[in-house]
Symmetry: D2
Subunit: 512 residues, 4 copies
Amino acid sequence: MKNETRIKDFKKHFQSQLCFCLKSPSFADQKQEFNKRPTKIGRRSLSRSISQSSTDSYGSAASYTDSSDDETSPRDKQQKNSKGNGDFCIKNIKQADFGRREIEIAEQEMPALMALRKRAQGEKPLAGAKVVGCTHITAQTAVLMETLSALGAQCRWAACNIYSTQNEVAAALAEGGFSVFAWKGESEDDFWWCIDRCVNLEGWQPNMILDDGGDLTHWIYKKYPNMFKKIKGIVEESVTGVHRLYQLSKAGKLCVPAMNVNDSVTKQKFDNLYCCRESILDGLKRTTDVMFGGKQVVVCGYGEVGKGCCAALKAMGSIVYVTEIDPICALQACMDGFRLVKLSEVIRQVDIVITCTGNKNVVVREYLDRMKNGCIVCNMGHSNTEIDVASLRTPELTWERVRSQVDHVIWPDGKRIVLLAEGRLLNLSCSTVPTFVLSITATTQALALIELYNAPEGRYKQDVYLLPKKMDEYVASLHLPTFDAHLTELSDEQAKYLGLNKNGPFKPNYYR
Amino acid sequence: MKNETRIKDFKKHFQSQLCFCLKSPSFADQKQEFNKRPTKIGRRSLSRSISQSSTDSYGSAASYTDSSDDETSPRDKQQKNSKGNGDFCIKNIKQADFGRREIEIAEQEMPALMALRKRAQGEKPLAGAKVVGCTHITAQTAVLMETLSALGAQCRWAACNIYSTQNEVAAALAEGGFSVFAWKGESEDDFWWCIDRCVNLEGWQPNMILDDGGDLTHWIYKKYPNMFKKIKGIVEESVTGVHRLYQLSKAGKLCVPAMNVNDSVTKQKFDNLYCCRESILDGLKRTTDVMFGGKQVVVCGYGEVGKGCCAALKAMGSIVYVTEIDPICALQACMDGFRLVKLSEVIRQVDIVITCTGNKNVVVREYLDRMKNGCIVCNMGHSNTEIDVASLRTPELTWERVRSQVDHVIWPDGKRIVLLAEGRLLNLSCSTVPTFVLSITATTQALALIELYNAPEGRYKQDVYLLPKKMDEYVASLHLPTFDAHLTELSDEQAKYLGLNKNGPFKPNYYR
Amino acid sequence: MKNETRIKDFKKHFQSQLCFCLKSPSFADQKQEFNKRPTKIGRRSLSRSISQSSTDSYGSAASYTDSSDDETSPRDKQQKNSKGNGDFCIKNIKQADFGRREIEIAEQEMPALMALRKRAQGEKPLAGAKVVGCTHITAQTAVLMETLSALGAQCRWAACNIYSTQNEVAAALAEGGFSVFAWKGESEDDFWWCIDRCVNLEGWQPNMILDDGGDLTHWIYKKYPNMFKKIKGIVEESVTGVHRLYQLSKAGKLCVPAMNVNDSVTKQKFDNLYCCRESILDGLKRTTDVMFGGKQVVVCGYGEVGKGCCAALKAMGSIVYVTEIDPICALQACMDGFRLVKLSEVIRQVDIVITCTGNKNVVVREYLDRMKNGCIVCNMGHSNTEIDVASLRTPELTWERVRSQVDHVIWPDGKRIVLLAEGRLLNLSCSTVPTFVLSITATTQALALIELYNAPEGRYKQDVYLLPKKMDEYVASLHLPTFDAHLTELSDEQAKYLGLNKNGPFKPNYYR
Amino acid sequence: MKNETRIKDFKKHFQSQLCFCLKSPSFADQKQEFNKRPTKIGRRSLSRSISQSSTDSYGSAASYTDSSDDETSPRDKQQKNSKGNGDFCIKNIKQADFGRREIEIAEQEMPALMALRKRAQGEKPLAGAKVVGCTHITAQTAVLMETLSALGAQCRWAACNIYSTQNEVAAALAEGGFSVFAWKGESEDDFWWCIDRCVNLEGWQPNMILDDGGDLTHWIYKKYPNMFKKIKGIVEESVTGVHRLYQLSKAGKLCVPAMNVNDSVTKQKFDNLYCCRESILDGLKRTTDVMFGGKQVVVCGYGEVGKGCCAALKAMGSIVYVTEIDPICALQACMDGFRLVKLSEVIRQVDIVITCTGNKNVVVREYLDRMKNGCIVCNMGHSNTEIDVASLRTPELTWERVRSQVDHVIWPDGKRIVLLAEGRLLNLSCSTVPTFVLSITATTQALALIELYNAPEGRYKQDVYLLPKKMDEYVASLHLPTFDAHLTELSDEQAKYLGLNKNGPFKPNYYR
């Protein structure tokens, strides 16, 4: 088994707009159950690891991590925290102080989790919960874990990605008493070993799963199927993991309730529309220093991501064209003031091409051939096949790496196009995700755990659920104080008039 | 029975965002079945008639209508068109030429219906259809009726509102061979008489119903229940009518399939977001000539209507505050750059107050008392109870009508607030609805008729349906040529990758 | 002498961006001194009178004025106000109450003049001033006149336009003791008779002139040149009047200082950029009800007016193209996100054509021939020659008046273009000017009078001056309270650091 | 003499809006003539060097420069280019290839200079010109120098900043035959030695000066005053240099004409409004990854820089407050939709504070004390005294450097504020300047040289001039092709009507 087959979807924060595709039965090349490990996403795994390093390079934690010249495998080291506890496996417990500072900075931008901690000082809604988790190990995750702990849960944790662990954060968690099994640069064998160490502990059995990508769930299905008898539910965040759960459910093999937090409205709107509105500018500037004013840009796809990109670029003085396949989104683009064109109509004149489609082969070699000298090409959509980068790896074209994440591809006549992140997600590779956005996801995860753990018998069956609208609204409400925003309350009379409960939910589930 | 109880909801184009409320079982004061005629919406009917006259005052057709000094009731006149046909009842067949010009102007802004006519030159998808309709009789409706006719249908038509008929358009339709029974200024008795004349014809029985408000449907239920045996379906457009259908369905009394065109995505987005974005500016300017730049405005409610209002005012240089009860919409307002406040926080400082809530008693007397001198108050939301206008009709306050639709309400200390349209819908009372938007609705109605008429046995049961996503997309696609917009087509390979049919639908039904 | 030659420029509020052209010596067809009465602007005078009636039709005062069926000439009537004073000549003193209400409403939107009154309660900066004025007689002018009076001045006033007098306002002024000589619908002979009555009074001689268009100044030059010995200065507001003053000055014939209030920065920015930003939308909506979203628009000229139009339309979802002759403005258009094109490139595809150039023959017949069916054409620029309307008055084209200010011009093949206001200024013909904007001009006029009246000997010579920067800033500061805006004050240390006086001026005179 | 006294103003691209302050005679601490070397700007020199390194760190050239481990002083090395020429002194001639690539990349973004080269293929407007230059030695400067050469000039060049030289670019220039004397990290002695080597050459005497900061001019004044007999003019770009020229002129000591290219309209608008609109977002993102949506921001100062910042942040969903001292700018802020406040009103609630004033002590310790935890503070204005950073260097506050250019300043109660670039210019320290903007400046410099060199005797006296409007327009026109923008040409008839020459200038000199 190749190394990359193991790597799950890091791109959790940007793909959710595409969930409908994944649910489609004909989405054949991603269709899989847990006994059929994905084998075709090798390229994406490479993408992820590079993305992560890129993100790190702007992050304050990068230096500490890099300075570790110790080459001994953590599995071969015996480490204990200051209280003598050694039930963890990380790179270097001595980095705990650095990690603690990172966590503290993250706490400031995660007001909702901090509020949850406060509200839980009396009751412990997760008292008795034994959560086994498998996510990226970052400062934001640490805030989540420490919140779960404050709510009463015991936690054991592994990384869902072999590259994404912030070693110093893992150290701080271990120092704080968490059983963490993760380090940056695990081998495939390490990866499964860490997961196993989380799950397989004498005298301890998890009753909740928090997963990101489905590997932890898969491992338990495969190795410890009996554990599901005690497990009250699975909370899954990623597109890929949710897809696998739906496949399981379809096949009648899902044996506990699962909560799909990927598709909650708050997450969708924030991750796609609002974040991309900012990250398209950030990603382009950091890589190319391009001036936006007066530039002609074509944005392929006018879903939430495309809408965010178009709004930002228009506001900065770019002239934006849109391509679409869906007439409804196309009509929205028109009403929002964008010329709706076919790519071929504008490809010769545009300065920047941005894909946001979720589709593949949107920008093919034919279009790349016709672009003008200096045209910037990048992808904000789904996978790195939106731009047919493979078609550029031919002998007559010269590739020149001019900066990190920036390649000039040079035609025989001297024409250069500027390809960003080799066609991988620009926002993930070349800009950062604000902690505030991660906070929304983490809060949703925490509430999903609470809901599943405390739900009365029978509320949830062996199926995949969306978080109840009311809890979605609760997540939103916990983030309002950040903006010093003051919500209006319904009077009894108004609530009656509207036929609503004063405390919500205020909208039907399908409301976006 | 009072006159106004008969009048249905004219506000069809602006309320659809509130449909979920109406479906709520606790929405008691609107709950009704067809055997319980509504009796509490008297105020709204008044609202409508005034609205209509206001709208007319900007319309080119107004003069012809007004010039008719003939006081004879159309029911007492014998009129024939130039071909000798007399199966209609309208004000004055001589106005046909004026009406024809109005219809021709409307045709230019209704490209989708015109396209449907062209595509139907070969096959007649409504061949054999006998459509009985009850809608506003306007130039736009005429374009719809003549399209249905071109598609093969026979049509008989009555007005759904006693004031809204454009007499010269009715004349043009009668001259063109349509059996129209409608005039401006019908009495209640006239109203039902017209409907009956449409339905009750020797040797002719309708097989399709196109209704706006539910009165026609109600009449057939009450008087000719056997007709439903031959009726293939009901197409209903208004919030009120849809609500009545859901009540019927709930009570198990709906005996044919019904199509709810009110809630189609295209209609929702256009009518609410895009139209209100324009009509808030238009309505305020026409009534008050207020300068928007620098004005402080509070918008109550951040649904689609509120979003449209806020975007427009922000773009014109106003400083906009938002109030909300729903934390998710509240968070959107924050991310879109609006201060989220309680009304009490800003009521003393704002220059303009706009309600877009669908709620009642949002702006109560207490707030009106605190407003500053010259504050403008208006309603873009649902009913005229959003602003508690009744509370202003007290002896200590003086009302002064300063223009059509504009009242100064004067406090004892001389403070004036400027109340627009007595709290009724500003956009309906003081601005116009672009034909292009009506085109979308009319096209949806036509397609809904085609779908229900041609659906194979069993596709639709005795229930209320949304138009299939694919047809929603088709409506959108028919409106793209107006913008010279060019849709991209999926390749076979791409369609397979996405698991989509190349011709759509491209999104799940719940996509907004 | 033709009637229209007498009529001065009403379009004062919208042309100031073009002042530089007028000052150009080669602007031959407008060149004139006061002894050469203009004879070529007949067309514009027509334009103006129609504009005024159009503006009236949206004003609340229109009805009172129209209701006067009395056909006796005011010159033949003997009227006295309630105090027995008869030194005025107006339509009907009985309308004074209506006029007073109009004035009171205007006062609310003219905070700066009201503030001037308050500050002048102690000292009377215009004590002893005898102001003779010739302006439009509107509620806003009345607020100005009553302010001048409160500041100590005596005022005698005539109208600068034979159509623009609001009779009821004139009545209120007469009732209040002002010697007003003006009514709506004066003949040419009346016009000069009124001016003469203002100036030519036994035992009273003016020492200040407030003029709008230069006719009053001209009359004194011609008839009573000796009066200039006592006159301390002229305040002139209009483009035309300022132009005439510059001509006089050039010819060495200007014998008192004159203040050009047309070119003050506040007036320029407000009248052009900010007002046009709003009035372009208002004018288009009121006339055509066009939906802006998705419309393709070409704006000819990217000066302040063009900038305002483009910003507004872009914000409403239109796709905007710009034409320019000046590379600097062109580069600004590019950076602001507009495609810079030649008119011929887009003329076939646009839905709306707007001229804002100050040039002539910008939209010529050739372009009109190429426009698509339904294209709307209008002018926001200078004179009605920007669109070559004359070229449309040919036999093969049919004109159809579809609404007030809206003509369909129909080509032989049935194509229609929609021409607004016959090519005259859209904002003047089809929308209103906010009182707040007029307030800025009126305040500037008042301050200019104060400055000239109180200036020490020698500060101003026989030349045309701009209002000192500091007073321009003072006008601005008097309008800030409307927005509840709080200015920051420099500390002594900061003022020293910047080399500025703490009270301004804060910018060099040329700052825009 | 201290090292830092020698260092001129690097911040040339962002301060021009403040020129009026600098010209003020009371701007005492900057007042100086060339015989009084500035001694008080030590802090700013430090600022500059750090800024430069920061800018480098995002530039593609950084790596080559850094890799030079050779510690020998260039003055001690004997180097020759491939043609045997040794009349230069740079770090390492072997880096020429790397430098050439940088220059080629820059050429693509400097279309106007490339166009000048083309147009000069026939005539050489600088034939015979001997230009001595002292500027930053960057790829963009290289494009300028090679353009001057193509136009016929001989060039000798030194650096105007001891840190800003891109060594590999200097190498490429030397290889290309230019006499360049510059390297990164010169000592003060090196600095003057390099300048002297440019000027003091047996048998060669300059006849044109291109200066940036005034040091070259100063050196010639001091050491070789007789040279001015042959010098036709000085072209000066920086605020500081222009200020020194005005001082010289005032003192009657300026003995040749000088061209102030700092204050040309194109440069002003581009550098301030358009660039800051982009760089405020870029600078904040790169340093803090802050999410803009919903953030409350106060921008101090609403000049061109403030306008750019406010527009960008508003577009990204921030809520923006403005402070101003000038009522006119204040009124503009109001009309543009910003609440005008005093800093004290909002200081407790804002998330970001941005200074754009040109003033000092705008954000003083008192305000810093009141800011909320996590507040970001940065400067886009003039000097690093806008924020009173010195007041934060007190024992009770802890400084923590969290990233490059980012400090946390921590109060005893744990509150942190996030200070960017230690209060120096954010856009210079933490973002990049697009080559396109530098292109405008460089083109203006080239045209100014051509104008002065070719001007007929007597056109320019011994004074400081702005570039003629027409040449400003020419610079703009040369940059239009970048945007594929098509300028409209006046017809003869139109030009006559407007009183303009068909080729410009189109606006008066003061037009902005």
